[in-house]
Symmetry: C2
Subunit: 121 residues, 2 copies
């Protein structure tokens, strides 16, 4: 079982438990990492445009609060998905961008958007 497994192989094997080389589930921890009301949406915005300032992200995710955006970005940075670049200007400027690890989540959004294209009216 490796990362070159095709979708057809995945389909055939998903009936049994799929594990990484070290015996872990490759799905559950990722789902947990992306858990939280805003994380996926933040990452998707950064897929569309990157880098993005704090205020731009806030505008795109409109009803989000400062608290949640700050906390989510901190956790995404801690997980290595997002890079934070701070410029020492007044008023402050902070830019967020996806790391390679974060950009590698793009296929997930492709799959989501394919589903959405099919089922969202």
């Amino acid at each position: 079982m490796n990362q070159l497994m095709t979708y057809e192989e995945f389909q055939n094997r998903v009936g049994s438990v799929i594990l990484t080389e070290s015996g872990n589930c490759p799905v559950t921890p990722v789902v947990q990492m992306l858990q939280g009301k805003w994380k996926l949406q933040i990452i998707y915005e950064l897929c569309i445009q990157s880098p993005m300032r704090f205020g731009e992200l806030k505008k795109m995710l409109k009803p989000i609060t400062n608290t949640m955006l700050t906390n989510a970005l901190k956790e995404l940075e801690a997980d290595g998905l997002v890079h934070r670049e701070q410029y020492n200007e007044i008023p402050p400027r902070v830019e967020y961008s996806l790391t390679e690890k974060g950009r590698d989540l793009l296929p997930i959004f492709y799959a989501i958007s394919q589903w959405g294209m099919k089922y969202i009216p």
Copy 2:
């Protein structure tokens, strides 16, 4: 823009806003539909094995509570992703399975598992 868009086309276009034919975002509503601490994990379990009884699901998702499993399954059913089949026996037996709409989420889990294979130690 249609659902036959390849991943390469998606990659090239994700820099601009991607929309369904009716002008909606095909990602955000799906993300919101799958929001909540347990929904993705429940669907993944049902990808692995289906149908599954309430108690089996509960065992697989171990620390989940009755309340959350019940509520999440109700919402997944309301969204047409999960089918609930109740048998009038004592003690009761209720089996949950994925609908076609639910099974079509499988590519999302494939993408997630590919990422997990690459990044989870």
